[in-house]
Amino acid sequence: MSLLNGITYGLLLFMLSSGLTLIFSMMGILNFAHASFYMLGAYFAYQISTWVGFWPGLLVAPLIVGAVGAAVERYGLRRAHRFGHVAELLFTFGLAFVVEEVVQLIWGKVAVDYRIPAELDGTLFTLFSTDFPIYKGFMMLISVGMLVALYALLTRTRIGLIIQAALTKPDMVEALGHNVPRIFMLVFGGGTALAGLAGVIGGNAFITEPGMAAAVGSIVFVVVVVGGLGSLGGAFVASLLIGCIQTFSVALSISVTDVFALIGVSLPQGSQVARLTITQLAPVLPYLLMVGILIFRPRGLMGARES
């Protein structure tokens, strides 16, 4: 059961990290505001759901987020690009700041009541006397559908081939007559739209509040680093891995002492480290994993390049 939950969470993380990875490998920008677009997706979907219901929001909210993302690329990032990568990074960093403030300004500082639609509220099946909600299944369906669509788009269509070409040889693609800045804008818009979609289906499963971007943002970065910068496959594996680690560790109540006892080391009794349970350690585990990966395999799980 934890495995299914972990996979659901992991797939959601992948929707976020795939957009981030695409943007990074294409433009070399680490988009710090990526999780902000996730938050915007959730809030837009909430707003639309109060007017016309959940289903139109599922389609419209990511599109609006994508349009906002494209506009940010066109009028902000493209300008910052002239001053180098650090300026771009700082631009997205400042953007994350502003988005959080604007969201607080419009929707207030407390969580909004963004609910799962009634037709998806219920139990899909029962396994080991634990209910598996329909909505989790729906989330999996959307995520996998997105994944397949993204894969097909990148490898089977003309625009996908141009994008792949622009990833490695932007000058050559430009010389062949393609508008590379427009492709960049499309990729950025597409990546942010994916984040928006993740927000639409993740916002009501978890919580929709101004802090949600900061909460998920650093985890997504961990995913991208662990998977290897610029590697979609690595991001997929790392998303599932971290999703499962997060869910499993919350469910485990053994302490650090027990873990060390398993490998035959007994810790001194009574120290604070020894008393910690794995559940308490849960928020730290992804970061520990990331630091470990960076020490022993700096490229990440499937990374092609180092820096």
């Binding site: 910052a80 990568h85 700041f97 502003v98 604070q272 910690l276 970061y287 960076l294 820096s307």
Partner: protein, 424 residues
Amino acid sequence: MNSAIFPRGRLLLWGGCLAAAIALPLLFKSGFVVSLLCQMGIMVVFALSYNMLLGQTGLLSFGHAVYYGLGAFVTMHALNIVGKDGGPLTTALLPLVGGLAGMLAGVLLGYVTTKKAGTTFAMISLGIGELVAASALMFPGFFGGEGGVSGNRVVGKENLLGLTWGPQVEMYGLIVAWAFLATVAMFALTQTPLGRMANAVRDNPERAEFVGYDTQRVRFLMVILSGLFAGIAGGLSALNYEIITAETLNAHTSGVVLLMTFVGGIGFFYGPIIGAILITVMQIVIGGLTHAWLLYFGLFFLFMVLMAPGGIASVIAVQRNLWLAGLLGRMLPHYLAVALPVLVLLAGLVGLVELSYALLAGEGVGAGDTATRVMTMEFHLNTPGPWLAALGTTALGLLLTRWIGSRAGVAWNAALATLHGDKA
């Protein structure tokens, strides 16, 4: 001391700054100003230590709060251990303990983070920052849990020249002394071979490596030294506020120091000083006036990134060059001409933001009211009047800025062309 490192002009400037720092609390006796000045002093050290990484070594760190926070916690614990046995002199030296703690943290964490430069370093520093911030809540014994750790900086009986550090003014004196020492030390570092190599590693790591320097070692040393000064800043903040919470370690603190340093200007030694002073004033003065201050701050930051990526220091440097070339006089009328529409535009934007804030966040006369009061003027939010006025002002400001701005831009480019033409 009339050497190349400390020529007369520089000595005069530094002495002037020190004199101004000492004179300010004598001019403004209010407690508000003195605590503002204290915070500035701490932030100046913190921002300068950050710029040792970003500006001098080219390392963009998102986890600098770790060194600052650990320095603060260790100083606080040292203060509590010293307790009754210590005197004012021990208290005055405590920031050094914080500095050593920051340095130790730099040795431990820097070894991991400095393996790579560039984007990878940024992400590792972010991860380490989050790791330490999350761990802080797991060890309430050391980090004090939600409530933090507090202490009392007035310890012992005997006085050092009659100083106990109790009153805020005396604390300010201590901060100025430490800040000045740290600033001189950090400036001196930029003149050492290590400081120069750090610049080389920033600009061209491959070449630096080819000449025979280990780039990782240079980065590692810079992180350690930067940790030392960040720890001193943290130690000063522990003494100043007498309470430190785990929040000091989180990403927000790291973000603020990054913003300060960048806004001030990373390419100049004095840039972070300007940034730290300006942002602290903005934070406290504008923060006291409006709840939307973080929004203004964020927008200001975005504006700086897009328009003046060199920060305020680079803007000053360009004006200085213009002045030296005798061109500043030609530009001044244009500056004044642009200032007017920009002010109109700002007024309109601020009006819009404040009206929205009042309507949506329910601030003003009373929560949930449909009226708000700005500088004794009362606005009714449910009538279109104030909204139209704000929108109109914004539109007018936008039009005027574009119109006058384009003419000033022409003059600006001409002046820059003359300036660079002179140089060539």
